[in-house]
Structure formats: C-alpha cells, structure tokens
Symmetry: C2
Subunit: 430 residues, 2 copies
C-alpha cells in the first residue's frame, strides 16, 4: 500500500500514487464497482441513441446541457460604465481558456472595428514613423506563445476583512490563458528604429475612451507582442480585435486592446489607469505605482466553492498556478489550513508566464478540512500569506463588491477552501 502513502494531514497522498497504482488503487475505488448485471444495464439505449442527432454547425457551440458554463457579467445591459465578464474556472479543466470564456473588462463596450480600416501607427522617438495595416503586419515573422492575462484587480476581494462567499469565478475569474500569435514588438521597432532618448512606449487603443498605458522600453524590446490571433483564430472583440498589445506576465490593463498607436517617449504618460486606478495608496501613505508584474499565484479549482463532494473517498485536487516572472517551479497543497503540505504534480509542458495545471490525489475521510495551495516560481518567489499582504498593503474594512476598491489590486496570496462534513465547499480565511 506504499502507493497510497499519506504524505500530509487529512489524507493528502503522494503525487505519484495514481500513476503506479495497480491493485492498491483498485481497492481504493471499489465504491464504483458494479456487478456484471448492472454493467449490462448501463448499455441500455437512451433516446439520443435511437434517432438522428443535431446538425453539424459552421461555427460550433457547446452542448445544450452546458448552458451554465458562461462568463458572469457585472453589467449585462451595457450601461455606460465598465462591463466585466469573468471566467468560470470551477467548470473548466486543463490550461487553456476557450476564447468564448476568456475574461473581458470593457470600459466602453467592445468597438466593432473594420479590420480593413484599422491602422497601427508607431511614432514619436523613432527614426521612421510607420503605419501598419493588418495585411502588412501579416507579412512579418510571427511567434506563438501561451500566456496568461490577468487583471490587476483579480482576487482583490481577498483584501476584504471578511471572506466573500462566491465561486472562484467571482473571486479569481479575471485571469485567463491563451495561445497568442502575432508579431514581436521588437521586430516592428527594428523597422521604425529607436531614438536613444526613448524610455517608454505609450500604447493607445481605438476604443472610444482611447485607453492608454505607458510601457517601459525594456519590456517592449523583450517579449511584447502585437497579437493578432488567440487560440488559433482572430482575437475576440472583447479581447482586442483586430490586434492587442500582449505583455506576457504584466497587468492585464497594460495589454492594450484595439491597439492603434505606439508612441515612443522619454517619460510615462501618467494616464488615468496608471495614475489613478492601478496606483494604490499604501498604509504609510506612499503610492504603490508602476508595479506591472502579476506575481506568482495559485488557486485550487477542483474542489472549490460552489462545488460539492459527493461523499468520502478518493478525489483529485486540481488547480491553476502561474507567475509573471516565468515558469512555475513547485506547488504545495495543504488539507489542514497550512500546517502540513504535500507537493503537487505539475502537468507538462510547464511554460513561462502561462497557466500550469497542478494535481494531487486525496482521500477525504469525511471530516471538515481546509484546502490551500501555495506556488513558487523559477525565480524563487513564493506566494505571500494573506497576513503579509494585508500588513504591507492594508485591508478593506468589510466585504466589498468592487474589486478596484483600495487596496484591491495585485493580491497573490493563497486561497482557503473549507470542506464541511456534508461535502460543501466554502471560502474562508485560514
């Protein structure tokens, strides 16, 4: 029974248990063993096996039984304020977020851009200002990479003094991961040339508020991309069609959508979103500004609040980890609120600045437990505790529903899911 060795409290098993199980595993799962008779009954033809099925569609849609797997909308009628669409991570699996479910924050709706008319201008402190159409960009060398995009306000509700009750869609739904394909910004800047005085690039969108953010030139020349495709197809309207700036691992709002202008300048633009929204006042009164990086984070998706365990026995605990610093190096999981830990298995390939799926087998004995995960990245950075973050950045006095209330950005502490003896999962602080 070595394969089912418990390596941390409350039934966490060695991550290799399921991969070398044999007879020991079979014993573990006999709860699902059925007689030959019942097995045969399982083959009875259901109605859908007795008639012609549904039509193949030009552009497919999910099963009618999956209608609940949608983004939650903060402003479904599109009143003249920001709309949020959050990703249902508790209903998804793997590492890719389907385009239809990628999180969206839209401050003035998704502009209906004619791609034949759209232009990208690169100007300012360059040698040759250039204008690019979608067709001319398509002639340049492209790259593809997996990358997460995360709103700086994602998980901000964890700064509340009391834990919000909601699914991870409400708590962590403003992060998603896609394969992005486009032209490296460094390639385009080789074309324009760079005046040595250029220190920042101001990126501006073609949405009606012309959202703009300032990007250090070093990031522009590192891995920044003018992205044209998302998971194989053209970028969705909510994610910046026909092109967006992709800054792998950096604050979502800086990944300017509907990109129409890159102006090279010698100082940042101090735009609304960098000078106000994503500048927090720290407890000592100092401004926390231009922090850019989405630091190492993880959360357990299965089980998570709103899901229910169907009884004691074996489960796989699974979740998502990512870091704007690079690759995930390690994820530890606890079933006793952080007192003992077991190492999770990481699904290969582990890619930099992208979702990594972690998994660990677990035998739930039926009593109350508190599940947590904690991730490390290849730079040696670990998720801080919630207490450390609150000491550094403050806490909101009561549960808030606006994730941009201060302090409300760049929370990367662990999440704690309490499982009670009925199998219900709730969000707690532990």
């Amino acid at each position: 029974m070595k394969d089912l060795e418990v390596v941390a409290a409350n039934g966490l098993l060695h991550r290799r248990a399921f991969l070398s199980g044999g007879a020991a595993l079979a014993a573990a799962f006999t709860g699902y063993r059925l007689s030959d008779t019942l097995a045969a009954q399982g083959l009875a033809d259901e109605p859908w096996s007795r008639k012609q099925g549904m039509l193949v569609q030009e552009y497919g849609t999910p099963s009618p039984y999956e209608k609940h797997v949608v983004r939650t909308l903060s402003n479904p009628k599109g009143d003249t304020r920001t709309q949020h669409g959050r990703t249902p991570h508790h209903l998804l699996h793997g590492t890719i977020t389907p385009n239809a479910l990628h999180f969206v924050i839209s401050h003035s709706g998704n502009p209906d851009i004619d791609p034949a008319q759209h232009r990208l201008v690169i100007h300012g402190l360059v040698r040759r200002p250039l204008v690019f159409t979608l067709d001319t960009l398509a002639r340049y060398p492209m790259v593809s990479r997996m990358a997460f995009v995360e709103c700086g306000g994602n998980s901000g509700l964890l700064f509340s003094s009391e834990p919000l009750q909601g699914s991870i869609q409400a708590i962590h739904g403003l992060v998603s991961c896609s394969e992005w394909t486009g032209v490296l910004l460094s390639t385009l800047l080789e074309e324009t040339g760079i005046d040595p005085r250029a220190k920042w690039v101001i990126a501006e969108g073609a949405d009606s508020l012309a959202l703009s953010r300032s990007v250090p030139i070093a990031k522009a020349l590192d891995d920044a991309m003018v992205a044209l495709y998302q998971n194989g197809e053209r970028i969705m309207p909510g994610n910046g069609y026909p092109m967006r700036l992709l800054l792998p691992g950096w604050e979502g709002n800086m990944n300017v959508k509907y990109l129409r202008r890159l102006k090279l300048v010698d100082q940042p633009g101090m735009s609304y979103y960098e000078a106000r929204t994503y500048t927090a006042i720290l407890p000592g009164g100092k401004a926390y500004q231009f922090y850019f990086l989405q630091e190492v984070k993880s959360f357990i998706t299965h089980p998570s609040p709103g899901l229910r365990l169907s009884g004691p026995g074996f489960y796989e605990i699974s979740g998502i980890a990512y870091s704007g610093n690079g690759r995930i190096a390690k994820v530890m999981v606890s079933a006793d609120a952080g007192r003992t830990w077991a190492q999770a298995a990481l699904q290969e390939p582990v890619l930099p600045k992208a979702f990594t799926r972690f998994r660990i087998p677990w035998r739930w004995e039926g009593g109350p437990v508190v599940l947590q995960s904690r991730a490390w990245d290849e730079g040696g950075n670990a998720q801080p505790t919630r207490a450390e973050l609150v000491a550094r950045r403050g806490q909101t006095p009561k549960p808030v529903t606006n994730p941009l209330a201060f302090p409300g950005t760049h929370f990367n502490g662990p999440s704690s899911w309490a499982v009670d003896s009925s199998g219900e999962v709730r969000h707690v602080y532990a």
Copy 2:
C-alpha cells in the same frame, strides 16, 4: 546583409533572418515606410472610436467581420448521410484549433446526450466490469495533453490524378489540434483489471449507429485517454460530448465519440469502419487494413490556395507539421518545386503527436514559384513523395469529390502551391 542570406532558390532566407535583422531588415521593409504626415493621418478617429461599443457576451462570438471563418459543411441540411465540417486552416494561425472550428465528421448527426444519464461501461475480458458516470470519472486523476486528431481520409484528394482546385480547407481540413483533458484509459483498466486473454478493446459510441472500432490493448495501455474536456471546456457535441476515446496520433475514426462502452476481447470486432471504410485494396489486390497511425505530414498554410500575395517583397511562409509517431524533428521548405530546400524554424514547445507551427522568411521576387514543405519526425520518418505513395497505393483516375473513394486514405505526401506572377496561389502536382 548576411542576415538576408538566400539559402535556397527563389528567395528562401535563413530561418534566423528575422530574429537578428537590425538595419538590414529595415531596408527590406521600406515598402511600408510612410511619412510623418501619413503616420498622423493613421490616427484619425474612425466611427467605432466615437461611440459605445458592443456588449460583452456571456459566451463570446467572433467579430462580425470574421463571419467567413467557419467550417465548410458537406451536408448542411443534415440529410441522413454523413456530415463533414472542415477546419479553415488558411484563416487560422498558431497551433490550437478553436473548438468551434475543430473538424467534425458525423455519420448520424451529433447526439444530444444528457450527461447525467450517460454511462461508460468497461466489460468483457476484465476482472471487474465497471460502470462510470461523468461524476465518478471526475474523481479520477486526470491528464492534459495537446493532440491532433486527423480523419484517415484527410488529404485523400491528393490521390486524384489531377490536382483539385480548392483551399486547404477542402484539401487538408479534416485535421485539428486541441488540448484534451481526461482520465487515462490505463487508469480505468487498473480499476477493472485485465484478463490476460484480452488483446483488443472494442470501443463503441452512443450515437445512433453505435459506431465501433477495435483498438489493440497495447495502445489502450499506452496513451489512450477517456477525454472529457477540449481546450479547457467540455467537449463539443460534434467532437464527442460528453466523452470520447482519444488515441493520440491514430486514425480519427478510432477516437470513438460519445464513448459508452469498452469491451475487452481476444480479437478485433471487424466493424464496418475497420473492415470496409478504412481498409483499402492495394494495387496488388492485398488489403491495407489496421494501419492505425497517422504518419508524418506537413502543409503550408500561408500562403496557400485561395490566398493571394499582394506584391513582391518579404513574406513569412508558415505551416503545420505533425506526426502520429511523436515529435516533429525537422521541416524543410522549397520554393522551386523540391529542387533546393531550406530548413524552417519550429515554434517551441514542440510536443509529441501535436501540431508544430513552422516558419521561414521569404523574399518573393514576383516570378512564378512552387512552394512545398516536407517534414521529418523524431523517429526518422519523412513524408514520402506523391509518386511513391501512388506507386504503393494507386491513384484515382480523375478528380474525385469523395475523399473516401479508394485509394483515398492516409495520404501524407507533400502539397505543392504554385504562385503565379499575379500573386495567385494554386494547387499543383510538382
């Protein structure tokens, strides 16, 4: 100008040219250089920048300008025969096929399966027959992997004696690539136990024709998966909702959709699809049966038939390569119908039995050229020439529209795209 070194005839450049270009590249691209005045004009506000945009949707859909990026349907009204939906690879980029555009072949429509009622039975030569619901499967350890699925009849039109004129959607549209997540079949077979007499597994679907195929037990115990999720979300109805058998790298039809039964037996079932459709009669009269593997293949997607080059100058040639044997090791590209070759760059990560995007820079001088790609996999297998395949398997006497006409399966030779001086791209044999 070393960076723009021509390494094969008709302007194929070293694959590193674009990655270390500098001034030489800028010179190459001055066709797109515009004056400061024109750059400023590029910033004029278009109508979509002057009004509130479109609503954020619960389940997003592409831009209205992308309505043409759809599958082509062979039987759009769903008459009682097979429906095909083909992937528009010439309009996609990267390595992932969006679920909405994954190819579908549906012989009796897509069954509208209630996932709460669906059962998977594993029986026959096992120690313990077992019945699995979707909920019980969800408790097992899962894995995620990228894998292509390809119809055995994909590219079959290349057996025609004359080259079909059509886009790669018509020629190569029955292959797609996704991240699949589910439970390894080996895990479930550990639960049931295996009688040593078991040599084959008959997989059966819950569609109205109960499509079944026979799978050697070695494949079942290797990397076969009961897949539950596709690119993060539940599998689409056309791809097997709520579960399918995934046999990475093997003939698409064997990846049984709507999987409801796995019966372990001592000999193959000789079902319709294995005994008739995917058995070809070779020129010598011998049957070509149980060949399983989708062998190494590649095709250029950009440019490809139906697309048009907008004038002489620099382009990136890009395409897809894959092999049921494992990883792609090398892709060579020719611009002179196979007389001289240049090595393409492979987009990392190169994953086994998954799409690999290849790219190579090219300077088109404006004259007629013929583009080809040829791939090698890590097992040392190379794409055979069309002549070699025809000698081995025969040729259909004239262009055919049914890709399952014999010989019509498992074509993995190169494709040739002729570019004429107007920039038009056509399918040729060369």
